[in-house]
């Protein structure tokens, strides 16, 4: 340790900036979760765990647990859907389809390049029950019974948002998985086929284990994105119908705009800890699988 080339304080400037702009505000943020900070008063009073108590006791009109439930459903479903579809597409575009495979990759990736706002506004119009493209198409081909009230039916709204988000996010995950697949040496597959392994065997015993580090990355990315989801929900349904699709971040936005800063900070603090805990376990779990 004594053989360091540069003394410790060379990092001091960067450290000071990091401390001032990241560490201190974060700690202050967590502190505000224990206060009644709001826009109606200049006083900030310490109120202990009251905000947390409100979240977990959910009285009339304050369905915080419902928002957390929605966020978790959204996150888990999108992780599975995006990973499964992206893996299927990645396999197709690296092995199955030879012709124009680069073109297909670009097409699949395109939604990830578009701003979420634009995607959401376009889908909002496509999914309009009366005038939307989807229902008009379904009615024109005689499938009237499939024409649903996508974003305004209480049971379909969240699945519709999940579907749109999957469509938008799958290309991004696919590109990462393609890179992972291309890094697996062909020799393994050749050796396996000489030993008489079927395609499915190779997939389970070569592709998946070797792809695991990449899958860990995509899962963590999807997890963090899912827990923080805001814009797509905000534009597509604004948490509606009623509060059926409200997530933690739309609730935070709502609290902030009502001037209840303390409560909003509590929600984001809670989410911060959930993210740290889940992220840690996901990485450990998937890391162990690759080792085992």
């Amino acid at each position: 340790m004594k053989a360091r080339t540069y003394p410790f304080y060379f990092a001091g400037g960067a450290l000071a900036l990091y401390l001032i702009f990241f560490v201190i505000p974060s700690i202050m943020g967590i502190f505000y979760a224990f206060t009644d900070w709001n826009s109606y008063s200049t006083e900030v009073n310490f109120i202990g765990l009251n905000n947390f108590r409100t979240i977990f006791s959910s009285g009339a009109g304050q369905n915080y647990l419902h928002f957390i439930r929605n966020t978790i459903i959204f996150t888990i479903t999108t992780i599975f859907l995006k990973t499964a579809i992206a893996l299927g597409l990645a396999l197709l575009l690296t092995g199955g389809i030879k012709r124009l495979s680069y073109f297909h990759r670009v097409v699949m990736y395109l939604p990830a390049v578009l701003p979420i706002l634009v995607v959401s506004l376009v889908f909002k119009s496509i999914l309009n029950p009366a005038t939307g493209l989807l229902n008009t198409f379904l009615r024109n081909i005689g499938l009237d019974f499939l024409a649903q009230r996508w974003l305004v039916d209480i049971h379909l709204a969240l699945p519709s948002v999940i579907a749109v988000d999957t469509w938008r996010g799958v290309g991004y995950i696919m590109v990462i998985l393609i890179a992972g697949l291309m890094a697996i040496p062909d020799e393994y597959y050749e050796a396996a086929s000489i030993d008489g392994a079927s395609g499915l065997d190779s997939f389970w015993h070569i592709t998946i284990p070797l792809l695991m580090p990449v899958l860990t990355v995509t899962t963590v990315l999807n997890l963090l994105y899912g827990l923080k989801v805001f814009d797509i929900v905000f534009v597509l349904t604004n948490g509606g119908p009623g509060r059926a699709t409200d997530t933690v971040y739309t609730a935070i936005f709502d609290e902030f705009s009502k001037g209840r800063y303390g409560m909003a900070t509590t929600l984001s603090t809670l989410l911060f800890f959930i993210m740290i805990i889940l992220g840690y376990f996901v990485i450990r779990l998937m890391h162990r699988e690759t080792e085992g």
Binding site: P7, F8, Y9, G12, G13, L15, A16, L17, L19, I20, D36, N38, S39, Y40, S41, T42, G59, A60, G61, Q62, N128, P129, A130, R149, L151, V152, D153, I154, N238, G239, G240, P241, G242, R243, A244, F256, S257, K258, G259, R260
Partner: protein, 459 residues
Amino acid sequence: MKRLVIVLGMLLLGVMLIAGCSASPAAPSATEPAATEPTAAPAAVEPTAAPAAQQEPVTLTYMASQGWIKDAELELAKKFEEQTGIHVDYQIIPADQYFSVLKTKLNSGEATDIFGGQSGKTDLQVQYDVEKNAVDLSGEEWVSRHEPLSLDMVSLNGKVYGAEIWDTVASNYFVVVYNKDIFEQHGLSVPSTFAEFKDVCQTLLDAGINPIYEPISDGWHHVLWFPMVGPRFEEVDPGLADQLNANTAKFADVPVMQEAMTELNELYQMGCFGDNALSDAFSDTNAKLASGEYAMSVTTLTAPVSIETDYPDVPAQTFGFFPMPLADNTLAPAHPAGPSKFIYSGSPHIDAAKQYLAFLMAPENLQYLLDNTPDFAALNFSGLQAKWTPEQQAFLDTFPAKSIVYQDAVNYVNPQWMDIGKDMVGMFTGSMTPEDVLASIDQRRADMAATAKDPAWAQ
């Protein structure tokens, strides 16, 4: 030890750097374009410009929400600049973000010289804290000409804090606008009870016509059905608003409120609002009414005139009006609260701002604003010439406004408007009952009262 000193030194340097960046003298405003003429700006003394013997040209900044500032007012601002050399810089903010921006500016002490705000006692006290943030205007000349109900909406504890230049009747009344031709074709007459109203809807549904265009997707419009029936609540239960404000009554316990909320849900479940109400938008109201696709909608008294402007082959006389008939209501609502103008107490140009407000409210300028604003039929000041259509006049004569709507009369209702809207959609889609919606309103009122340290909720 030496290392510690160095690290601490670096930290100190960083802090000083940041402090240096943020510390600026209390400048009046960052956006101060110079006015064109250096003419005298009476009473606007600038203590910052010490060496200059001449008065400096003043720019007043004015922040308002979209839709609050009419073109005619901008014209008046130009005229004001010609006369006094004081430039008025209007900053218009999109409606859905306005209150967040305004509250942030007020809280950080950076509000514009004049700021717009919705009037009403709760808003004045809780949203803008006018006693701290706004200038007392009680001594101004125009106060005596301001209509008393409107004046009350911009006053708090006996002092006038704002000026509400608005058409509080034609632009503020939300009533049922109906297509007279459709009613006539199906032998329908204006309903006076909820049962009759339901029959009207059923007849129209049977005839394949959508009864009511109700744009729920905007989030605010369907809420109108409830607090706008306030005069009826007051008629059935005299003194209810006072009891609600004193926290001796709760929405959820009032039978007439339960009745109104249940009936609104009934209308939705009957299909009176059409299949697509949850996706319908307010901006399409004129088109839907003009096309005859829908027979009715809840909108303002000026809607027929603006329909005629948009669709010249549909004359304004096609439409008539009646009050929202929930809970057998037959009363027109008085709704004196509206967009108002306040002078920021931290403004360095308070006198110039007062001068501008006095200019806007000079009788000839008010008349100019009224004559040149299509949405206005009258203004809330005495001594002006109104421009009612025969249909509007007939409505005003038939349905007198007895008492004021509940978003004005009852505290902590207006600020939770959009939340009530979300709960109502929950009711329409079956996740909440009418009782839940009312209980939820009570809950939010209690939260707001606690934040505002309202003594009625203290025990």
